[in-house]
Amino acid sequence: MTVFLIIVVIALLGVTFWQMSKILKLSKTGHEDSTQVANDNDNKNQGYLMLGFVVFLYIFMIYSFWAWGDFYLPEAASAHGGDYDRLMFISIGLIMTVQVITQFLLYFFAYKYKGAKGQRALFYADNDKLEFIWTIIPVIVLAGLIIYGLFTWSDIMNVEEDEDALVVEIYAYQFGWKARYSGDDNTLGKANVRFIEGTNIVGIDKSDSYAKDDKVTTELHLPVDRPVLFKFRSQDVLHSAYFPFFRAQMNVVPGMITQFSFTPTITSEEMRNSEFMVEKVNELNQIRKERSKELVANGDVALDPYEFEYYLLCNKICGISHFNMQMKIVVEEEEDFNSWIAEQESFGETLKKEEEQKVSSNN
């Protein structure tokens, strides 16, 4: 790859110097050119280039949407995600319309009114009506967008203290995540970094009676179709809990508890088997296979084939390994979730075990 890079760079340098020498030669021979102010010939050439550029821009935009449009995340796996995507598509549609029109006008005018000797520009300094029109149109459109956006925003962010909601703490540290489930009482025990000791890695307060049934896990399992209220806590620096597939994100701030709530609606299994994901994963595995060939040829280990899982990632610069701070998320049916959570060890059990160990080692 480096060799390829070097070749590209050298080739480009070559082209640049060739172009430069050619242009210098041109600029030396053309005597009418010697003022370095654009003449009619320049105006004409540059005018056509303006037209060419807007064509390039259109083709490039169309190509981008065609080739990379499907990078957009799959159907949202949360209850509010549908609203999010709808608002997103409306906004994209709107801005692309404006983009296509204004870029055309800009470059087309630049082409059409390219200067020429004897051409007279129109002295046109003001027009209140026009100014009014292009003030009022953005006002109306933006008012619509703002109102729509704000309704969606308050729907997403206003966490109702729902009895039914599962309360889960997401705990961030350099460089990983832990999840703490609140247990049968659905109330998280008190916690602070000052309680961190031995196996109590998230700093739960032993003396708090709500803490006994809390369960700390390394994977995040969520029951489908049940609202989840996340409480975020960080032990060291700022992190951001980013759940792209659920259209959810919240910063994790040391010294305070932040929160976000959403209802997962698509299980991991369903997402894996969705048309979008099957195709995507096939494509990814194709890429990985090809890269593996390269790796094996270099004496490295081949890449594992990829199977889709939801993930949580850190989205606020947090240190050297920021790029690899992730946690697997499993969305499953209520029964599966219940049996999984039952297998996890509660904080009370951990404490008891430690006590017993201490006693036995003292004996």
């Binding site: 800009l106 520009a121 060291d236």
Partner: protein, 611 residues
Amino acid sequence: MSATANATVAQDHHGHDDHGHHHKETFITKYIFSQDHKMIGKQFLITGLVMGTIGILMSILFRIQLAWPEEASWVFELFLGDKYATDGVMNPDAYLALVTIHGTIMVFFVLTAGLSGTFSNLLIPLQIGARDMASGFMNMLSYWIFFLSSVIMLSSLFVESGPASAGWTIYPPLSALPEAIPGSGTGMTLWLVSMALFIAQSLMGSLNYIVTVINLRTEGMSMTRLPLTIWALFVTAIIGVVSFPVLLSAALMLIMDRSFGTSFFLSDIYIKGEVLAHQGGSPVLFEHLFWFLGHPEVYIVLLPALGITSEVIATNSRKPIFGYRAMVASILAIAFLSTIVWGHHMFVSGMNPFLGSVFTFTTLLIAIPSAVKSFNYITTLWKGNLQMNPGMLFSIGLVSTFITGGLTGIILGDSTLDINVHDTYFVIAHFHLVMGISALYGLFAGVYHWFPKMFGRMLNKNLGYVHFWVTAVGAYGVFFPMHFIGMAGLPRRYYTNTNFPYFDDLADVNVIITIFAIITALVQLVFIYNFIHSIFFGKKATQNPWNATTLEWTTPVEHIHGNWPGKIPSVYRWSYDYSKLNKDETDYVIAGQDFIPQNVPLQENEEELNH
């Protein structure tokens, strides 16, 4: 009143020595510790270009890492050495240091000092008809503090524990704790010292600009006759004075937290097996303080570029700028709004969601004056007689990237939509187009346009054309695809994306982006060659090469101290009388000449406008 009075005083002082030889200048007073605004402008420009070269080189280094992650390259060995690129592979800490210093250098040292510093110094006295800045000494001090600040920032690259690497936004606790990241040791201290000096120089400069514009306008130069460049630079200086001190307070508190055990931003931290004593601070407070500057900073960067564009587009279209008053009003509206929108950087910071709603509202309002400006630029082109000088091309390019980048702001400024694209490559694409590339285009437009004024020679136009077209294609090639990888949920500031197999299909796009970036960076060498070559060997400029109306073109080509030999010209009209016809509409007001300089009195055969 006072404006006229001051102008007369200055005039009296200079009136009797028209030859400009009134005191001998040594090499040091002329080129180094110069108090002449034109020289200081050039000093800002050249320092800014040097810093820009370094900043862009850094971006190429980390782009290579992103395209070909963890592959060895001689480029890394050459520039980073064994310490930051063990066996030729860039280390993660080097990557974070590079993105941090790239951001800092480009935003502050290139686009704030290099752009606003250069053109405020050069243009304010020349375009308002003043002999120099209100305080030449403070102006000189401002440059040299900037220079010192640049030297300190660059020296931080060479300290043992590495330069600051917590991102250019230096959010604590990461930036406060050397335990959290090595760059938060000496490197961060130097960063903070450098920025404190930078803020000091910015304030000195800004106060000077404001006082000069208010007090030293020549006779007849009312505020509504000011060229839009001056309006933009004037308002930029005001925004700087309002918001930079807040960053200074944030930096001071961060210094206290780092060195003196206070807890403004730190609380409940357990790191490297130990609980820190800090209690009760909040990183969110820092975010508020930082963005209280950070957002207006966007407009500190952008407004001078827009001002330059207004001037260059009008001159080269041979038409008045469309809607002068609306342009001034939108500059003022943008300036006002810019100070009340900072929270849109913090929608998911954990602040109250209601605040998020308020900031969404104020943020989307900025789209209105921005739209007005864009439409007015386009209308100025309409039915013009466009002279395609390189400065004009960059101005048209600016309008294009300003629209493309500005439109995605409608997505990011919407708190709801920000949730899922916050801190992804979508944001990178947005702000690089709308403020990075646009402001750089403004800088280039200004350099091509005022190079004759600065150096008395012309830049080579053909090299300018090559420079523009390759840059125009390259800039879109770099940043347009980033929207799509951002939509895929790819976070910024990741050393490599290979730990998430889901991102494997984005790798090709990253290669494309990097190749565009390398091409675009290389073509800047053409500009640098043109710049240096033309200073010494460029075609000698005439007094008014672009046939412009503003006062700077009434000064002689050779620089003299005090700008005008003899009397300062008086002003009788606004600066946009291009292609104005006489009353009978048979010819231009001045026959055969499609522009009327500001110092030409109202002619008999012309209709008076309200300017």
